[in-house]
Symmetry: C2
Subunit: 261 residues, 2 copies
Amino acid sequence: NGRPVFIVARKGAASAGLESFPHRIVDLGDIHTASKALREAGCRELVFIGKIGRPRPSELRFGWRNIRYMPRIMKMIMGGGDAGQLHKLAAFTESIGFQVVGVTDVAPELLAPLGILGACQPVEADRRDLAQGWRIADRLGELDIGQGCVVVRGRVLAVEAAEGTDAMLERVAGLGPWDGAGILLKKSSSIQDSRMDLPVVGPRTVELAIRAGLGGIGLEAGKTIIHDLETVTGLADRAGLFISGLAGEGGELSDTAHQQG
Amino acid sequence: NGRPVFIVARKGAASAGLESFPHRIVDLGDIHTASKALREAGCRELVFIGKIGRPRPSELRFGWRNIRYMPRIMKMIMGGGDAGQLHKLAAFTESIGFQVVGVTDVAPELLAPLGILGACQPVEADRRDLAQGWRIADRLGELDIGQGCVVVRGRVLAVEAAEGTDAMLERVAGLGPWDGAGILLKKSSSIQDSRMDLPVVGPRTVELAIRAGLGGIGLEAGKTIIHDLETVTGLADRAGLFISGLAGEGGELSDTAHQQG
């Protein structure tokens, strides 16, 4: 949205396209180099992008200039739930002088809108599975377990925890095929810092949902990042998979966008 | 406990040792043959043993004498949660003249006792993981998701749904190794018919927990079937894995057997 951007990428995790932006690639754990690069580029706000994993201590490359950060970083990655870890990471980032800003604030166009995306519509049984998946995902989020689940005709087939959505969908494919019944539901956790770890859905998610034979995907509107919307809807439309942006305010699940109804 | 036994085994699922009991092997779905065999053997009580899966319609071998059972069986296996399915199966079994009896009633010696089994003790951090796993498993049971989870130092790594405990432990091994931290917790569901589907732990469970590098296993005392106790504790002792029979009445988790303390 017009603001200048500087990217700090973790070595080994940098994606294509990085070269077209001013950037610096740093070792994981090298807070000193990262914050120095950000400061020199004049950055004061910081957006975390992509899944924030929990590195093994052996993966970290501290170097002597980072010794002072070590105790807090070790405390963040050892034990505890994901929500606690991310709250600590946000607090740490702000303590070294950067304001943490969410994708929601700087690029709302990446978030799933309310309503049906693409050409396919859920049938009545899908809507019941969506409502059940929403309730389940809501509880999973409160318990700090994960952000997704798969429901097939009233039965919870799989729950996402540390393995992530892709591994969950591969498991569901192995248990199936489900012949176009059932849904994947992704919903953000109510106890997590929503600037840090919103659910992300991309072409790979759709491919795996198609391979598992699910009927569709339900996403929390305004709280799920869609990566490469055009490819996502293209894949879904060709396979007959629906994608529905949902909101559950007031306990009633809805995918009717206000401008449509 | 001295009562005569007659076994009806599903074709393809019969285990070794079956030959030493009067038995009949039947096709899945052939209620007619099964109930005729049971009646001729004078059976009036029926114990379901082993995991009751959800067969695909194509796996069922009805035959014309079973036509009258078909609608109810199809209704049982299509859709809905596991708890509902098992309540329906119990009601169906009783409607055709057999009283459903739980393993708890006929062979309480197979159930996990309260207290530490084997030689290894949980450390304080394990006890916290056990308490968290118990709370999580309790909620999973209420939501009819599954009967197990893995917690490593305060983080829920995996939740068991349709894939079962073994697949969950294999996943945890792939995410690890966990170097002796963390626990597997198995707890029965409060909404399921406890005559039908108690959690089962056996040598394979212990082998997979060892391979994942977990510190131990927590089982609901009196509600978890231990298959081959001697092998289970032998494996656990050699690997330094603890096994703890737990009860959570009053909200306070305990593995202290009354006779010990």
